[in-house]
């Protein structure tokens, strides 16, 4: 058997339509046994791509010869929209592209605007922001823990994860009024103070989630089949991960401890102990273990924060029209899925001149072709499920 790239000829099949138009189909083998690769579109509507990511793969049997992610099916132009909204309104805008880490995205933009306007955010608001960001992180991670299990055929963890998510969402709803798009941040602070009893309820919820994470460990992390499916699958060396700009739990699994909360603390992360769980091999199992470890780490942070929220106002008085002075600022935050970057340019008007977002999902899926090459179709599921991404966050 030899691998030859087919020359374009009368027999050559072309990919019909779409961005992959003109891609050649590889013909393998010689003599009597001539096999042809099968071209398969995974997505844009496919259970494994949770969202509308499309992956065009060439298959040799069940082995993936080539994989090309095709993105853009969910492009909603948030960055452009932000140029037509004032600084208060873009906060409601940016929590929509990554619907699973709404609060963390708002936070990045709020910090960017505050930095430009040189606003002093009240101490209480800073601490509550840390608290809420960590709750949001847990919400996000629970979702991926559940869906990863589901993709590997374990149908129970997702229901357990949603049970916890429901409780946490109820808690956050009591403070923010939202269950998915919280819009709790404001330029210069927060929308309003926490409701009475929130901290106590948080305390109870921390204990609750902490005991229930054991169920995920039993059902997934300690399961032989789960290990067989994920260990050694989709291993990502740290240097490759860094080259692709991978961040968040996907990067930590490869053993790189880069985390904005530690390396460039914002809000009051410099005053709490942030534990970053690390992997060693960078395979799917490590990525999952890092995610689960981060849930526990976030619970630890919440426990530290709960005792330290000082009394005081949660908002600053803003002028009637919020205008950022001319200039630019780049803010990095550690979003649940990885590093979020917010590059805000202002020309002194009411609306930003440009808001460029560096979203973690976009960078994380860059390595999909690297990881998928040579993998089997079932491994593709284990890989796609463990490279944590939200399609809205990819396409914006």
């Amino acid at each position: 058997m030899s691998e030859t790239l087919a020359r374009p000829g009368p027999d050559t099949r072309m990919l019909p339509g779409g961005p992959g138009e003109g891609m050649l189909v590889e013909v393998r083998g010689e003599g009597d046994l001539r096999t042809q690769d099968m071209n398969l579109n995974i997505g844009p509507q496919h259970p494994a791509t949770h969202g509308v990511l499309r992956v065009v793969i060439d298959l040799d049997g069940e082995k993936i010869v080539r994989a090309t992610p095709v993105i853009g099916y969910m492009h909603r132009g948030f960055e452009k929209l932000a140029e037509a909204r004032d600084y208060r309104q873009i906060i409601a805008l940016v929590n929509r592209h990554d619907w699973l880490s709404a609060f963390c995205n708002e936070l990045g933009v709020a910090i960017a605007v505050e930095k430009m306007m040189k606003l002093e955010v009240p101490e209480r608001a800073q601490w509550i922001r840390v608290l809420m960001a960590e709750w949001n992180r847990i919400l996000n991670h629970l979702m991926f823990i559940g869906s990863f299990g589901l993709e590997l055929g374990a149908i129970t963890p997702v229901f357990f994860a949603f049970r916890e998510r429901e409780d946490i969402q109820n808690l956050l709803e009591s403070a923010t009024g939202g269950r998915l798009h919280f819009t709790y941040n404001r330029v210069g602070g927060l929308k309003e103070d926490l409701p009475r009893g929130f901290l106590k309820a948080s305390q109870a919820m921390v204990a609750n989630v902490r005991t229930r994470t054991r169920e995920y460990r039993d059902l997934l992390e300690g399961n032989e089949i789960f290990m067989a499916r994920t260990k050694g699958v989709g291993a990502l060396p740290p240097d490759v991960a860094l080259d692709y700009g991978v961040s968040g739990p996907t990067l930590h699994a490869s053993g790189v401890p880069e985390d904005c909360r530690v390396s460039e603390p914002y809000c009051r992360y410099d005053q709490v102990d942030v534990h970053v769980p690390l992997g060693t091999r960078g395979d799917s199992f490590d990525r999952f273990a890092c995610l689960l470890g981060r849930v526990v780490a976030s619970l630890d942070i919440i426990e530290q924060v709960l005792d330290r929220i000082p009394p005081g106002p949660v908002n600053t008085k803003l002028p009637k029209t919020v205008k950022a002075p001319e200039g630019e600022v780049y803010v990095r935050t550690e979003n649940p899925l990885g590093q979020g970057g917010y590059y805000l340019v202002s020309d002194g008007k009411k609306t930003p001149w440009r808001l460029k977002m560096r979203t973690p999902s976009f960078s994380n899926i860059q390595m999909i072709p690297y990881l998928l090459e040579g993998a089997l179709v079932p491994d593709m599921i284990a890989i796609l499920g463990s490279v944590f991404f939200v399609v809205g966050d990819v396409d914006r």
């Binding site: 099968m38 398969l40 496919h46 259970p47 494994a48 069940e62 299990g149 589901l150 993709e151 590997l152 055929g153 374990a154 149908i155 129970t156 229901f159 357990f160 049970r163 059902l219 997934l220 399961n223 089949i225 789960f226 067989a228 499916r229 089997l376 179709v377 079932p378 491994d379 593709m380 599921i381």
Partner: protein, 350 residues
């Protein structure tokens, strides 16, 4: 043993047997389906169906009515005849196997001398239905599912048959009724009455796991892995034809659970050596009472095995196709052959 339904009038007897088999075939899978709905739901912190009648008991009949109303779509590129026939080919074997499975003392249509052979041979026909569906759908996902199914069913047919062969060796008969009776008379170490589950424990585990793989039940559901290949060979099916595939799956659960109950768990006997109550209750003659109690015991065993299958579904992720093949060819088949050898040695020595 004679079938209860072996009446003097051949045609009447035939009609009665057929009617009973069809009724059982259409109801038992629904019971298993309901157990799956509710059992799975409660394991997953849900309620499951609650709206259709009492605690959702009417959910599956309602689903059936819904399937009848759905449009029957045949893809344009599909091989229409093969596509239409495939669900039937998958469904009929389960129906035919029921004819030889003894559900109680005298509660069986036919006691074939080669009962177990017939049951296993016929049940393996359903793979053809799956392959037909996969090939004729003109869908790449279906094709992949069909190829996976074919590889899987071939790999697990062997441990299934070999595990059953060890039981046949021990019982000394191929007849399913004969195997139940042989278990009733079996004494472990010559004294303790026990079902074959104890001497044939390895065989039971092999048979049960191989049955899971035969049925494409989790953790061996790669042929229909919904997160990888949509729904395998069933991807393009809608309406009643899809319902037939689902019915075939649940009927398959009933059939293989029944076979496992007959081969390893003592069939309709509560415990080997304990006779069924056979006194007349009012106008009901004694042998009918025994048959009813036996049927109840047998069905409880089937339901228990089906429940374990559902429990597996709630607990385990899916294996990978190559891992599945490795387990079968490198562990299960050698183990099954070893089991036969050991059984044969004990049979000769004892």
């Amino acid at each position: 043993m004679e079938s209860l339904f072996a009446l003097d009038n051949l045609w009447l007897a035939l009609l009665l047997k057929l009617a009973l088999i069809v009724v059982f075939f259409l109801t038992a899978p629904l019971v298993v389906g309901y157990i799956e709905h509710k059992g799975l739901a409660h394991m997953q912190a849900r309620l499951g169906p609650m709206e259709a009648a009492f605690h959702g008991i009417g959910q599956l009949p309602a689903d059936g009515i819904k399937f009848i109303q759905k449009e029957d779509i045949i893809p344009e590129n599909a091989d229409k005849w093969v596509f239409s026939m495939a669900p039937g080919v998958a469904l009929v074997p389960a129906l035919v196997v029921l004819a030889v499975i003894p559900m109680g003392p005298g509660v069986f249509a036919e006691d074939l001398d080669v009962g177990i052979f017939f049951a296993l041979a016929v049940s393996s026909v359903s793979v053809i239905g799956i392959l037909m569906a996969a090939w004729s759908s003109a869908n790449k996902y279906s094709l992949m599912g069909g190829i996976r199914a074919a590889a899987q069913l071939i790999a697990y047919e062997l441990p299934l048959v070999l595990a059953a062969a060890a039981v046949v060796l021990q019982a000394g008969t191929l007849s399913l009724v004969g195997i139940v009776e042989a278990q009733n008379e079996f004494r472990l170490f010559g004294v303790i009455p026990a079902a074959y589950a104890i001497p044939q424990l390895v065989g039971l585990i092999l048979f049960f796991v191989a049955a899971l793989a035969e049925l494409s039940r989790p953790p061996f559901d790669m042929p229909i892995a919904d997160s990888e290949i949509i729904f395998g060979h069933m991807t393009e099916y809608t309406g009643l034809r899809y319902a037939f595939f689902m019915l075939a799956e649940y009927a398959g659960i009933v059939v293989l659970s029944a076979l496992a109950a007959v081969l390893f768990l003592g069939g309709w006997y509560l415990w080997p050596g304990v006779p069924l109550p056979s006194f007349a209750v009012g106008p009901i003659p004694g042998d009918v009472v025994a048959a009813l109690v036996g049927f109840g015991v047998m069905f409880a065993k089937i339901a228990t095995l089906a429940f374990v299958m559902i429990w597996f579904r709630a607990t385990f992720p899916r294996l990978r196709e190559d891992q599945l093949q490795r387990i079968s060819w490198l562990i299960f088949i050698p183990l099954a052959i070893l089991n036969i050898v050991v059984t044969a040695i004990f049979k000769v020595v004892a």
